[in-house]
């Protein structure tokens, strides 16, 4: 099966560079699957996980807290806001972040604005989901 070059980069570092048979990414309009020779596409990404089908039943997961997906026929670029290897995720930190965001939502008097708190909550939830998925494997 043919493959497509995948680059996952964040502003702070390069996270992944290699070939995959299929790329799944959480675009704002819903999850998209990109196969080789996909037509050029550009879309913002929601917090969630990017899944790479490496062929032979092998998969790789990357958690991202939003970003931009750029697709060209032979190249998929994920410009991630803060992409960390899902293996490295610290579940405790994610739960703590979720709690902090929940507290901020419960206590509207605090300076943190609601939209930001909601975004934090979504990001933390996505992190936890990615970790759970890794655990199951």
């Amino acid at each position: 099966m043919s493959t497509i070059q995948v680059e996952i980069v964040s502003a702070e570092e390069q996270i992944f560079s290699g070939e995959a048979e299929m790329v799944y990414a959480p675009a704002v309009m819903g999850e998209v699957g990109i196969a080789p020779r996909h037509t050029p596409l550009i879309s913002p990404l929601k917090p969630g996980e990017v899944r790479l089908d490496m062929g032979g039943g092998k998969e790789e997961f990357f958690f991202i807290s939003g970003g931009i997906l750029e697709v060209q026929p032979h190249l998929v670029t994920v410009l991630s806001d803060t992409a960390i290897r899902a293996d490295d995720l610290d579940e405790a930190a994610a739960l703590e972040a979720q709690k902090r965001a929940e507290n901020a939502l419960a206590d509207q008097q605090s300076d943190l604005d609601v939209a930001k708190a909601k975004a934090e909550l979504a990001a933390a939830a996505a992190q936890i989901q990615a970790i759970k998925k890794l655990r199951r494997k």
Partner: protein
């Protein structure tokens, strides 16, 4: 023996200073390597996003983003990136000099200035010259995180969108090599994309959900990445400049010690000679 003890004390104090500067030199050298690594790590993202921006800007979507449109300049925003601490040679001073030149030019044209500062040195400087500082971030640390950049940059972008300012410049140090750091100024907004090499193909992306929303997030991240690169590069510059400054301080301390030692020896020799001649004179008198 006049002043012998004083000279000894002075030598000891210079030696202590030398120890400190030598230690600072080594710390700066190791931090510089780390900062350089981080600088290189940010390049793939910056390269990719610059490619996307240049493509999007030169293809012809139905929507022209305000960040891409030039307009008459009445008020300008400046992002100034400096260090938090001193003892790094002329790094900040050179940067501020360049900034002042530029502000002077704008002032002659009757353009008003707003400043966003990174680092305490820039904050103090612009406060002192009475510039209007609209946002600031300091204590960014040796490995800056992009999350600390977003807030201040957003401030300026929002003001740009509202029409409060018409152009945004970034002033930061450029890391040429370990010995050379150069202040440079780039225009952030309106974005001046590099000409697209592939323009002849005349293809365009599918924008999802639509070109406006996509352009918004792409351009915002592009600008953030430019500022972030400036901040990261400035850290590398700071460390390199500090390393050089501390190296020359250590060398100077060494020279000073040699000189003081020479004076001390000369003085000691003079006092011995004097004592001998006094004894000889005394013996002859008896």
């Amino acid at each position: 023996m006049a002043g012998g003890k004083e000279i000894k004390t002075k030598i000891a104090s210079v030696q202590n200073t030398q120890k400190i500067t030598a230690a600072m030199e080594m710390v700066a050298a190791s931090k510089m390597r780390r900062a350089q690594d981080q600088m290189f790590a940010t390049r793939p993202y910056a390269q990719r996003i610059a490619d996307v921006v240049s493509h999007v800007a030169s293809s012809h979507p139905e929507y022209k983003h305000p960040f891409l449109i030039d307009r008459p300049i009445k008020r300008a925003g400046i992002v100034a990136v400096s260090t938090d601490r001193g003892l790094c040679g002329g790094l900040n001073t050179n940067l501020f000099k360049q900034a002042l030149n530029h502000i002077g030019e704008l002032d002659d044209k009757g353009v008003e200035i707003e400043v966003v500062t990174f680092g305490t040195k820039a904050l103090n400087f612009f406060k002192r010259i009475g510039a209007k500082v609209v946002a600031e971030t300091s204590h960014i640390g040796d490995s800056p995180e992009i999350s600390k950049i977003i807030g201040p940059v957003q401030t300026l972008l929002q003001r740009y969108e509202k029409g409060d300012i018409d152009v945004i410049y970034l002033i930061a140090n450029e890391f040429v090599n370990t010995m050379t750091q150069q202040p440079k100024m780039v225009q952030l907004v309106p974005v001046q994309p590099a000409p697209d090499k592939e323009l002849s193909h005349h293809w365009d992306y599918i924008y999802e959900p639509d070109s406006k929303e996509v352009l918004d997030s792409v351009l915002e991240r592009y600008i953030e990445s430019l500022v972030y690169q400036g901040v990261v590069e400035n850290v590398a510059c700071e460390m390199a400049a500090r390393m050089i400054a501390m190296k020359s301080a250590t060398d100077n301390a060494g020279e000073m010690i040699d000189e003081l030692q020479l004076i001390y020896n000369r003085e000691r020799q003079a006092s011995i000679t004097q004592e001998i001649s006094e004894i000889v004179g005394g013996a002859a008198a008896v």
